[in-house]
């Protein structure tokens, strides 16, 4: 049997995304967020995660999706990164899915724009496609955005 991978999934604007399970530190419902003036748009703010300060990244903005409608609180998918924990703000949390390499496919060449940078590929699940998120990239490019926004 082919090797399986577990993914933590979540939704963004009805799209299904997945992050390798071992990269996820935890999933948290709601954390009060402190906004950072002058910060790039994709950085939604800072959160206090049990005494640890975590930077929140609004994945919708990162992927150039429309902003969440007001009143819907985002969920936090806290990712371990080399630079400490980063929280990805998503719409809704899905299941943990187990997939094999066979269902994986590179993103189609026609996929352009920001999404392409951040997506490693897709897994063809039974009902829909799961976009595999490149977490490093999702946080990393934000840095470039930062320096761009610098005055």
């Amino acid at each position: 049997m082919a090797q399986t991978h577990q993914f933590c999934t979540f939704y963004l604007d009805k799209l299904l995304f997945g992050v390798e399970l071992e990269k996820v530190q935890e999933v948290i419902r709601y954390l009060e967020i402190t906004q950072i003036p002058l910060a790039p748009r994709v950085v939604s703010g800072l959160m206090n995660l049990r005494g640890q300060i975590v930077t929140g990244i609004d994945l919708r903005r990162r992927l150039d999706l429309a902003d969440r409608s007001d009143g819907t609180a985002p969920m936090n998918v806290v990712i371990r990164s080399a630079d400490g924990a980063v929280s990805l703000l998503v719409d809704e949390i899905g299941d943990v899915v187990e997939v094999t390499e066979e269902s994986f496919e590179r993103p189609p060449e026609t996929l352009q724009g920001k999404v392409r940078e951040v997506i490693l590929g897709v897994h063809k699940l039974e009902k829909q496609l799961m976009h595999v998120l490149n977490t490093e990239k999702a946080c990393e490019t934000a840095e470039a955005v930062t320096s761009g926004a610098e005055r």
């Binding site: 910060a39 800072l46 300060i53 930077t55 990244i57 840095e143 926004a149 610098e150």
Partner: protein
């Protein structure tokens, strides 16, 4: 990596650092046998460990050094600067090799043949030359053996003769150690033969029960296979009693346990960092609980909360102390640095250090290491002159460099001063103009201090020629940036021809700081208290009058100086708070901050408490934001950002580049004009004779009075009036001032005002009244001198309210009046 190797590396690196300073010290005190022995032992240890661990190349290098040192120690050679340089080069080589071992676990491919060659050469050269210290004559009396043996070894204090050879042989000069392989390095480690304090032999010698010579015999016996304890051997030799041996044994045990207690342990730095983080979090939790308990006012909670408060603070302090290291860790490297630079340039420099035990956080120590080294280098390189120049200037040929560290008001102060040439402000000024840092016009306005501080600007170096050590143009600006980064400050003072002093102030620790919490548009921010000069609150109506603008830039006049204002909400583009009251009509809170010597006022909506906050760094996504220094978690569990005052000032263009500076200067120019208003004085304006405008500083006027003309008693030209039970002489301006005009006196009596307007003045304890025509006004104005006085009794002519006004000089007027009086009395006498 092998634990053994790791330990070897740590130990050797420490030893090498010590070697550096000891070698330099030895140069100033070449006869110190103690230093020599210590240096020798260190090299010997390194060499021994190398052999053991199989680093043969390293061993070879250490070996030549050791044999050279052994000859030095034995007085066969005397120390010359070349020796020191050679040995220091060896230390460097060993250090490089250790670095190699650190990364590859091998001692590298470099064998340093030239270094070994030169060290050998040094040794041979000296071998040809006769040894400096003359061998002592063979001792005749056994009792004097000790001294003679000692003198042969160059008055060794630390090495009693017994350590070398048995007493019988002491007289024979020790054969020069056959350079490559002195037997002592292998068979019997020489240190073992030495009665060391803490060892029983040493204890016995100290007690005076055994002579060192006898001890040596016993030691020899032990080494040649006697398995008994030293005490027992000595007892069997009949030299000591069993009790003596026992007592010494006990003393030995005692000193051993004391040693153990005094011992320190090595702790991984990461562990300490982790500990510090945990304590930081504990502080946060404590803050949260304190807040909660204050709200609840539950007596059962208050007690433990206070206790928690105390304990946390204490714990925090102690943990912080574990991270504290003495500044000597950095200072001790400087003698070597100074020596290197001085030798390279043929200068003579004495280095003096004070307060080496001053402790500060190790991360800060790291942060100031490079800047300090740079400053020290600079001082020797550019500051201290060549010996002949110094002599020509009447100074001692050797320069003096002084390093001083101390704690001062919760900060660490490090001072580096030299008695060198000092900084030539004219040269700095010219250079700055040449480089376009400032314009000539600006330069003219700058104070000495401001000009000196130009050296901190990027790309500024006054060194006329670039040396290989410093003066590459990356200089003081890097120092300043590094110090700024840790919230420190640098201050430079220099007197041409006398020397330069650089003062660095740094906080004790970075992790936990005291900060003032401010609010703007509903956002909370922390401002480190060290940056804050003062807090100002202006009422709504004062806001309207006291906040002015210079070319659209809002400024506040604070004690006569204009303070540029920065609105935090505007600077950070904070969204207006929904439902928030319009703050325009409210009181304004100004936090007066200082960034790189530029004060500015930060306008915020609210100033809250000051609190201890734990500084957490921002994640990499946010590092581009220069306006924030970090973030912290507040007592209520929310995150607040910490403002970076320097970054904020840069963002607001309080200062940044030359162009900004020029702009600021222009503004300053406008400010200067206004600035003078600060020297405004209040004047009493009045009309003098012939309707001339005159004035007196209001401060000199005690009262304004009116006297009906009939109350004035006239005796000749002298007018007096009864005033508050005293006689008040009146000084008539028309008389005293117009005396010179030689007018006919009778004319002026025609118009006599009634009542008389009198200014009551106090002049040197005497009260007098000045009669004036009319009191015009009291005005506030700067007394800009327009022209000097044209007649006696007038101080000068100034422009007040756009009209030329004469300032009268009361003391002079009084003198004139007195002169007139005598004149009129004489006149009266003549008539009589």
């Amino acid at each position: 990596m092998d634990d053994l190797i790791k330990e070897f590396l740590v130990e050797s690196n420490e030893n090498l650092d010590r070697l550096d300073s000891e070698l330099v010290k030895l140069e100033t005190d070449p006869s110190s046998q103690e230093l020599l022995s210590s240096i020798f032992r260190t090299i010997h240890t390194i060499k021994g460990s190398c052999g053991f661990l199989g680093f043969s190349k390293l061993e070879k290098v250490a070996h030549v050094g050791e044999s050279l040192l052994s000859r030095l120690r034995d007085g066969k050679l005397s120390l010359t600067p070349e020796f020191t340089s050679g040995l220091l080069a060896m230390v460097d080589a060993i250090r490089t090799m250790l670095g190699e071992i650190q990364t590859t676990e091998q001692d590298g491919n470099e064998t340093y043949p030239s270094l070994i060659e030169s060290l050998n050469l040094l040794q041979q050269q000296s071998q040809d030359a006769p040894p400096k210290s003359t061998p002592a004559p063979a001792p005749k009396e056994p009792g004097k053996k000790k001294q003679s043996a000692n003198s042969k070894e160059g008055a060794a204090k630390s090495a009693p003769p017994a350590s070398k050879t048995p007493p019988v042989k002491a007289a024979t000069p020790i054969a020069p150690p056959a350079a490559p392989d002195p037997p002592k390095t292998q068979g019997v480690p020489e240190a073992n033969l030495r009665p060391v304090a803490g060892k029983i032999g040493g204890a016995l010698v100290d007690r005076g029960s055994v002579r060192p010579e006898d001890l040596a015999v016993a030691l020899k016996g032990q080494l040649s296979g006697d398995t008994r304890r030293l005490g027992e051997i000595l007892a069997s030799m009949g030299l000591i009693t069993a009790e003596d041996a026992q007592a010494a044994q006990q003393a030995q045990e005692g000193s051993r346990s004391k040693n153990a207690a005094a011992e320190t342990i090595r702790v991984d730095v990461h562990l300490l960092d982790r500990l510090m983080n945990l304590v930081g979090e504990l502080v946060l939790t404590r803050n949260q609980i304190s807040q909660y308990s204050a709200r609840l006012s539950d007596a059962n909670l208050v007690g433990p909360t206070q206790q928690l408060n105390l304990l946390t603070s204490e714990l925090q302090e102690e943990v912080m102390r574990t991270r504290m290291q003495p500044i000597s860790n950095v200072f001790d490297k400087f003698p070597r640095v100074v020596r290197d630079v001085a030798t390279a340039q043929g200068k003579q420099v004495l280095i003096e250090m004070e307060g080496k035990e001053t402790e500060l956080d190790r991360s800060l120590l790291e942060a100031i290491k490079d800047p300090l080294t740079h400053i020290v280098r600079n001082s020797v390189d550019h500051g201290i002159e060549m010996p002949d120049q110094r002599v020509a200037r009447g100074k001692r040929p050797e320069g003096h460099l002084k390093l001083r560290a101390c704690h001062e008001g919760g900060q660490v102060l490090v001072e580096i001063s030299d008695d060198g040439a000092g900084i030539d402000t004219t040269r700095v000024k010219n250079k700055a103009i040449e480089r376009g840092v400032i314009t000539a016009q600006q330069a003219g306005r700058m104070s000495e201090g401001e000009i000196l501080n130009l050296v901190f600007l990027p790309g500024f170096s006054t060194a006329e020629k670039v040396t290989n050590l410093s003066g590459r143009g990356v200089g003081m600006d890097v120092v300043k940036t590094n110090i700024d980064r840790v919230n420190g400050s640098v201050d430079l003072q220099s007197y041409l021809g006398k020397g330069t002093t650089i003062r660095i102030k740094i906080p004790l620790t970075l992790a936990i700081v005291r900060a003032v919490i401010v609010q703007s548009n509903g956002n909370r921010f922390a401002i480190p208290q060290v940056n804050i000069q003062e807090l100002v609150r202006l009422d709504a109506d004062r806001v309207r009058t006291e906040i002015e603008s210079v070319r659209g830039v809002p400024v506040y006049r604070m004690r006569g100086r204009l303070l540029p204002l920065v609105y935090l909400s505007g600077e950070l583009k904070l969204a207006k708070q929904a439902g928030g009251q319009a703050d325009q009509d409210d009181a304004t809170n100004i936090v007066v901050l200082q960034a790189n010597e530029h004060p500015f006022g930060l306008v915020v909506n609210e100033i809250n408490d000051s609190e201890e906050i734990v500084v957490k760094p921002l994640s990499k996504q946010l590092r581009g934001l220069k306006v924030f220094a970090g973030a912290t978690i507040m007592g209520d569990g929310k995150v607040a950002l910490i403002l970076d005052v320097v970054g904020l000032a840069q963002n607001a263009s309080i200062f940044s580049e030359a162009s900004d500076k020029a702009l600021a200067e222009e503004n300053a120019e406008a400010l200067v004009a206004q600035d003078h208003q600060s020297e405004k004085q209040t004047f009493l304006l009045f009309a003098g004779p012939d309707d001339s405008r005159m004035a007196l500083p209001l401060s000199t006027v005690a009262r304004l009075e009116e006297f009906p003309a009939k109350e004035v008693e006239k005796s000749g030209d002298e007018w007096v009036v009864q005033y508050r039970g005293k006689i008040l002489p009146l000084l008539r301006l028309d008389v005293v001032l117009e005396e010179r005009r030689e007018r006919v006196r009778h004319d002026r009596k025609t118009v006599e005002p009634d009542p008389l307007q009198v200014l009551v003045c106090n002049d040197e304890g005497r009260t007098l009244g000045i009669v004036v025509d009319r009191i015009l006004d009291i005005v506030e104005d700067r007394a800009e001198v327009k022209s000097p006085a044209t007649r006696e009794g007038i101080l000068c002519a100034v422009v007040i309210n756009d009209r030329v006004t004469e300032l009268i000089d009361v003391p002079v007027l009084q003198k004139i009046a007195e002169a007139n009086r005598t004149l009129s009395t004489e006149h009266a006498e003549v008539i009589n």
